[in-house]
């Protein structure tokens, strides 16, 4: 069984009755919408047209929000409704990243995720959703799409329909009849400085210039709702802190296995950095929750398909490993050290790289759907981890081997990071959304930060690191590496900030 909607835009008059009936049925706070009507004006006078599109949750057959939700607060019912339970939600906003339809918001009252649930509380009472009841023109159809005898199934079978973002392969179950592609395609119609009778939100105004639009139809979005980026500086920062901790421990492990040692830096600084990185990451993650007091739900109500949960376990194991490392170093337990050194390699890689899988589950953010993101994150971790170790090394009286090892790691990490950037942004993108976002980074609003804040310093750091690597051991060489290590840190932060923002800047509705 699969409940769904069919929305007949041929008869929809853009009256917003569905929007308001939904809000009064579900007590939706001001500024938030489970369903809304988008307007697009196209053409030139006197051949101007206006199209409407009723936007809402698509009750996807393969709902990415359900998959990413760490606490099973979002779930798919037997009848196909994608429902939510706000008593389980921790407010991590990952579902908002997973949804390719801008359907989910954090309810201002409960601080938990909410969306259209097809008025499941009414359906359980054999009543139609509120929007269906109110619609003056019967433009909203509801019913079981799997039942070939249902009205909606017949309609969808016999009429030409379209869905939003079919390329996301989520199996959307909201079918549009007679909809203008410019309404369904979020990239087709940018906003002007005003809507027809409301004001575009800051993000839509900021990103309007990013969208290609169409010189032929001149389509402009003339009414829509706000969907600000769910994730901000905390996520950007934890990508860095995680990288530093993961990279430091991985390199310490490798150095140990190669017999290079790194002395006190390997014994103490690396695990402390690892712990610090993991703790900061965890702290930022919890801080970023809308219901931080519920953070334990990640472990108590785990959805093991969610990389937020798996990531939390990685973070926990990694932290545990770092603690053991300190114990092993403190009590000089060689066998344990060897084991931990081996374990640090995959654990560090996972610590740095699990975010790639989490971002991969963020189906709404095409920019983040990179097949090389895992390796890119590992390279970044090596870059910033070795950079951090180098700074510590300045106080540790390292041998030439130790310097060379760290310098080599730094140079390799940084060069791979730069190569990955070249691959990510120089190559062809899998989707228009990703391509548009990439262009915003390399040639658009974020180009300055990207080129001057991220690429150029990383390049300089790589050269300095290479010089340090190739130069005979000397205070100067060590100094160059320390400087390079220091430069790399803000360079990565700059990059993550544009990567995280641009990914979320692309409109989904």
């Amino acid at each position: 069984m699969q409940y769904g909607f069919a929305i007949d835009q041929r008869t929809c008059i853009g009256c917003h009755a569905c929007t308001v009936a939904c809000k009064t049925e579900n007590d939706v706070p001001l500024g938030q919408f489970r369903t809304w009507v988008k307007y697009v004006d196209s053409g030139e006078f006197p051949d101007t047209t206006r199209s409407f599109g009723v936007m809402r949750c698509n009750h996807c057959t393969d709902a990415p929000c359900v998959q990413i939700c760490p606490t099973q607060a979002l779930f798919k019912r037997e009848d196909g409704i994608v429902d939510f339970d706000n008593s389980r939600c921790i407010g991590c906003k990952s579902c908002m990243q997973a949804c390719p339809y801008d359907a989910i918001y954090i309810d201002a009252e409960s601080q938990t995720a909410a969306k259209c649930n097809l008025c499941a509380h009414r359906v359980d009472n054999d009543l139609e959703p509120a929007c269906v009841v109110v619609c003056p023109t019967h433009s909203i159809w509801v019913g079981d799409l799997d039942d070939p005898t249902s009205g909606i199934a017949k309609l969808v079978r016999t009429e030409e329909t379209a869905v939003r973002a079919p390329e996301q392969n989520t199996g959307p179950n909201v079918f549009y009849l007679g909809a203008d592609q410019a309404v369904l395609d979020p990239l087709a119609a940018p906003v002007d400085d005003t809507y027809i009778w409301a004001k575009p939100d800051a993000q839509r105004l900021e990103t309007a210039g990013d969208l290609p639009g169409s010189p032929r139809t001149k389509a402009r979005t003339t009414l829509n709702t706000a969907h600000p980026r769910p994730w901000g500086w905390k996520v950007v920062t934890y990508l860095w802190t995680k990288g530093v901790g993961a990279g430091a421990l991985m390199l310490a492990g490798l150095a140990y296995l190669l017999g290079i040692g790194l002395g006190g830096v390997g014994d103490w600084v690396a695990p402390v950095l690892a712990l610090f990185g993991a703790a900061t990451t965890g702290g930022l993650l919890v801080w970023d929750l809308k219901r931080p007091e519920r953070f334990l739900y990640i472990f108590l109500k785990s959805n093991f398909r969610s990389w937020l949960v798996l990531g939390a376990y990685v973070l926990t194991l990694f932290s545990g490993g770092a603690v053991l490392w300190l114990l092993a170093a403190g009590f000089d337990i060689a066998w344990l050290m060897t084991f931990l050194a081996w374990a640090a390699l995959p654990a560090g890689a996972m610590m740095a790289g699990y975010t790639a899988f989490l971002f991969g589950q963020a189906e709404g953010r095409d920019l983040w759907q990179s097949p090389v993101l895992f390796w890119h994150l590992v390279a970044q971790a090596v870059m910033v981890g070795s950079g951090a170790l180098a700074v510590a090394g300045a106080f540790a009286g390292w041998s030439e081997d130790e310097w060379r090892f760290v310098a080599a790691a730094f140079v390799l990490g940084t060069v791979v990071h730069l190569l990955m950037l070249a691959v990510e942004y120089g190559g062809k993108h899998a989707s228009r959304q990703a391509a548009t976002a990439a262009h915003v980074i390399t040639g658009g609003r974020y180009a300055r930060t990207f080129w001057l804040g991220a690429v150029l310093p990383a390049g300089v750091a790589a050269v300095l690191g290479a010089v340090a690597w190739g130069a005979p051991a000397s205070g100067t060489a060590a100094g160059l590496l320390v400087v390079a290590g220091l430069i790399a840190q803000p360079a990565l932060l700059a990059y993550e900030s544009v990567f995280v923002r641009a990914g979320q800047d692309m409109p989904l509705s």
């Binding site: 008059i13 049925e25 706070p29 006197p46 008593s87 109110v134 003056p136 249902s150 009205g151």
Partner: protein
């Protein structure tokens, strides 16, 4: 969707009930006393609440769509409003404003207690007062005015009434001539055009069955009657009907049109006459219909006296008379491609008798001579014989039902010059826009003892609001201003008493509207009180059920009437006295029991079939359909009772004897019952003087406008010839509405505010480029009496030469005055000694703390621009309609200009008033009459009052 099941079809019709597969849209009526629903916010935990579902009707626009209030059994609070499946007009469905009623009920800014002004009027300071004190004061003043025969000094000024007939009866009982409507800022122009065809002042298109729907309005998004009409227009469209929309801007309605024509404002009549001319010259007319129903004989007599009285000759002459209206002519006047006019003609010609047309406000309300736009539009119906047919256009009276209370007071014999000045004998409705000017002129006694503004915001909605303020503040002109309103408004702060009235779920009213071919009557109820009654909880009146001390108007009027005539000596009290309990006030239950028992045909029987009294039936279902699918009532044979004593006059009009003491009906002449045809049949006909469709209006001719006696084209005050585009002159269209808002009445509905909350000036992109302005830029718009500053929206959705600024916005309150913070900005308001008013925002809309956490989440800041302040009164000399379109000059804003600035010179507004007054052709008309008797009036006085000499004789 699947079949409308009409579950209760065997008993009570449920035209809006539907079920498919497992789901239904409404709980069945048998569950309405105890319907269990799960709490949405607790879902998926099942938290059941038990509700009484109590029907009422929406009080936002006039459509009167059905609502079902969900009253929680736990605390009698209203949880939400859904549609009412029993309602034949709205059929269980609503626009956004229906469900948003809950915002109005729970508005933390609403007025909960009677308030009395402190300090001078307009100081914005109020104190709480008891209902008793307020009623004593108001009642005493009204009593004195009546006793001292100052019966034109009590005025009830109503916005959209949202009720039929109740207050009319009250005013009639008081014997005052004091009913003032808002209609000449609204639909007077359209009504005038229809009135002179058929007496009835409104059309009722049978959209659902139409082949062609031709609209001058935006019925898919606003207006009378938006939701019911939109349902049926889209049904017709889905069935293959063509939709044609004439609108200066791309409305949502126009976006659905098969043909959208955006003519130069005021040229619409030229287009319709070109279509008429095409129909005539190609003989695509319904000759048989015209021969029987058009007063073609009068047409020939008056315009072609030498022609033989022959229908074919008439058709020839008519064709010749309209030959000047070629497609080329219309296209040139309208500045539209000739192909559009041709295409329209072909579409109309193809409609046969299934042509549904409608104009309500829009062009008819915008232009000098706008009434001729309505008249020429209906001409197309007359020519095609699509009048009263299936899929055609009906008069509203066929599809509307007003029950009259059996005990009606004696009609009054006064005539108020403040409402019906002699200069405007043909005005469709009261000359309400002129009230401040008429008071300044000293009309009648030059003052009002008591002025009620009732759910109405006159200084905001009318043109020339600063002159309203001048007069509202002047206690020598208005003795007492009583604002009856649920919420604070600009006008209420200039009142002496502000009395809180109920919203849609807090009052009794009956309403009926021509939503389709059906006569239904709907019942508005104080739902919490009904719930109390069901649950056996005692109450005295609605104040015990409503929030705070919010009262329903009906009980207020009854109580006030008793205070006016406490001992019954004025003969007023008797109309509000209980029949069963002499000496006590009639209750609302008694009133409606009797009304429904005696005056709604079929209701007592339908109720009895359910084992109910008529009142119980209406309390349960909220609506009753008196008749449906009524067509061609003009052909209705007269009954014996109607014919009894009726004699045909020389034109075949059947009349019963009347005296000067007779009271004309709401519409039509006293005593007239029908018409005898050539073939001897005697049918009801129309409500025009001739009982026929008046192609030649003898009224217009005999009351001074012979050149406009036939459908014609009057050049608008903003015609293309009168706008110097080289000098950056434009036509401002200030009167279009948005789908989610309704004048200032929706101002306290947060879910509507959040959808529409900016006020851009629609500006054709090419025009904007020429002026060097862009979206977001400020421009200064100068009218004849002042100017305002507004932001530009450069768009392709409006024609060049015209700019548009929606109605609804531009709300303000002065610092320290009460207001509604959802929608109002704070202003600094200044008047110079010599009459220059200035308004400037000192603060926009901001979040605020209240018991509703949403008030802190307000994310809009734009209160809009109060443009109406800068418009002079521009009453059409025939219809009295305020001609909304403004000739304006637009320039980039000056350095000192701020968004929302308004500046007006009220001396200039007086000059403009006098200039438009000079365009009139004052009465009295034939027989010394002040106004043609057949024209609609809400409270008709005795026939004697219509006659100037008789009134003077009385004085």
């Amino acid at each position: 969707m699947t079949a409308e099941t009409g579950r209760e079809a065997a008993q009570v019709p449920m035209p809006g009930a539907r079920s498919h597969e497992r789901l239904r849209n409404f709980p069945p009526p048998e569950d309405w006393d105890a319907h269990v629903e799960y709490d949405a916010r607790s879902h998926p935990r099942k938290v059941p609440h038990t509700y009484s579902l109590i029907p009422t009707i929406c009080f936002n626009c006039e459509s009167s769509c059905g609502l079902l209030a969900y009253v929680d059994h736990d605390d009698l609070s209203v949880k939400k409003f859904e549609g009412n499946p029993a309602h034949p007009g709205s059929r269980g469905r609503n626009c956004a404003k229906g469900p948003a009623t809950i915002n109005q009920v729970h508005d933390p800014e609403r007025i909960l207690y009677p308030m009395r002004r402190v300090g001078e009027r307009g100081s914005g300071k109020f104190e709480r007062v008891s209902w008793d004190e307020a009623l004593e004061d108001i009642g005493g003043r009204i009593r004195r005015a009546i006793v001292e025969d100052r019966r034109d000094e009590v005025m009830y000024h109503v916005g959209r009434p949202g009720e039929d007939g109740f207050v009319e009866r009250v005013l009639q009982a008081w014997g005052v001539d004091g009913h003032n409507s808002h209609t000449n800022v609204c639909s007077a122009g359209g009504r005038s055009g229809y009135t002179h065809w058929m007496g009835y002042d409104r059309p009722s298109p049978d959209y659902a069955n139409a082949k062609v729907v031709l609209l001058l309005s935006s019925h898919l998004e606003t207006g009378h009657y938006f939701n019911p009409h939109a349902q049926r227009i889209m049904e017709a469209k889905a069935g293959g009907a063509k939709l044609v929309v004439l609108d200066l801007r791309l409305s949502n309605t126009a976006s659905h049109a098969d043909l959208w024509v955006s003519p130069w404002p005021g040229s619409e009549a030229a287009i319709f006459l070109a279509v008429a001319s095409y129909l005539l010259r190609t003989r695509k007319v319904d000759a048989a219909f015209m021969r029987r129903w058009v007063n073609w004989d009068v047409y020939l007599e008056r315009l072609h006296p030498d022609a033989p009285k022959d229908f074919e000759v008439f058709l020839e002459r008519l064709t010749e008379d309209y030959a000047q209206f070629t497609f080329e002519y219309a296209a040139a006047e309208a500045h539209v491609p000739i192909e559009q006019v041709e295409r329209l003609a072909h579409i109309v010609a193809d409609a046969g008798t299934r042509l549904a047309t409608h104009t309500w406000r829009s062009a008819s309300a915008g232009n000098l001579g706008g009434w001729q736009i309505a008249r020429s539009l209906f001409f197309l119906n007359v020519l095609t014989g699509s009048v009263g047919t299936v899929g055609g256009t009906h008069p509203n009276g066929w599809d509307k039902f007003i029950p009259h209370f059996p005990e009606m007071p004696e009609p009054n014999d006064t005539w108020s010059e403040k409402l019906w000045p002699i200069e405007y004998p043909l005005t469709t409705n009261e000359m309400s826009i002129l009230l401040p000017h008429l008071l300044k002129d000293g009309r009648g006694s030059g003052r009002l003892e008591v002025y009620f503004s009732r759910v109405y915001n006159p200084l905001w909605v009318n043109p020339d609001g600063f002159t309203w303020i001048d007069v509202l503040k002047d206690e020598s002109k208005i003795g007492l201003h009583v604002a009856l309103t649920p919420t604070w408004s600009e006008s209420a702060t200039f009142a002496d008493y502000v009395l809180p009235m109920g919203h849609a779920s807090e009052r009794h009213d009956t309403m009926s509207f021509e939503t389709h071919t059906s006569k239904w009557i709907a019942f508005r109820q104080p739902v919490q009180r009904v719930a109390m009654e069901k649950r056996g909880i005692p109450y005295q009146d609605t104040r015990d059920a409503n929030p705070g001390e919010v009262w329903e108007e009906n009980e207020f009027w009854f109580d006030l009437s008793w205070r006016i005539d406490p001992d019954g000596s004025l003969g007023i009290r008797q109309y509000f006295e209980s029949k069963d309990r002499p000496g006590e006030k009639m209750t609302q239950d008694e009133y409606y029991n009797r009304l429904f028992q005696t005056s709604v045909p079929g209701l007592p029987e339908a109720a009895a079939a359910q084992g109910m009294t008529p009142l119980q039936y209406m309390r349960k279902y909220g609506v009753f359909e008196v008749a449906k699918e009524v067509y061609r009532l003009d052909e209705r044979p007269l009954t014996d009772a109607e014919l009894e004593g009726a004699v045909a006059d020389e034109k075949g009009v059947l009349r019963k004897p009347v005296t000067l003491d007779s009271q004309p009906p709401l519409v039509g002449e006293a005593g007239a019952v029908g018409v005898v045809h050539e073939d001897g049949t005697r049918t009801a006909g129309w409500l025009s003087p001739s009982r026929k469709l008046e192609l030649y209006s003898t009224t217009l001719a005999d009351w001074g406008w012979p050149e406009h006696a036939t459908p014609g084209y009057i050049e608008s005050h903003v015609s293309a010839r009168r706008i110097d585009r080289g000098n950056d002159e434009f036509v401002l269209m200030p009167n279009f509405r948005l789908p989610t808002l309704i004048h200032t009445r929706s101002g306290n509905a947060k879910f509507l505010n959040e959808i529409a909350n900016t006020h851009p000036l629609w500006f054709n992109r090419a025009d904007a480029a020429k002026l060097g302005v862009n979206t977001g830029d400020l421009v200064r718009v100068t009218t004849e009496i002042g100017r305002f500053v507004v932001r530009v929206w450069a768009t392709e959705a409006i024609r060049p030469g015209v700019v548009g600024l929606s109605h609804h916005m531009g709300r303000w309150t002065q610092d320290g005055h009460p207001g509604s913070r959802w929608v109002m900005g704070k202003v600094d308001l200044n008047r110079s000694e010599d009459g220059i008013w200035r308004l400037r925002y000192i603060d926009g809309i901001k979040p605020f703390k209240s018991e509703d956490p949403d008030s802190e989440r307000i994310y809009w800041d734009d209160p809009g621009v109060h443009q109406n302040l800068t418009f002079p009164v521009q009453p059409d000399p025939v219809s009295g309609m305020h001609c909304w379109h403004q000739k304006v000059r637009i320039e980039k804003a000056h350095a000192e200009d701020r968004y929302g600035d308004v500046e007006v010179d009220v001396n200039k507004s007086r000059e403009v008033y006098r200039r438009w007054l000079a365009m009139t052709r004052p009465g009295p008309g034939p027989d010394g009459q002040r106004r043609p008797e057949f024209m609609m009036r809400h409270v008709t006085p005795k026939r004697s009052a219509y006659r100037v000499a008789m009134v003077e004789g009385n004085a």
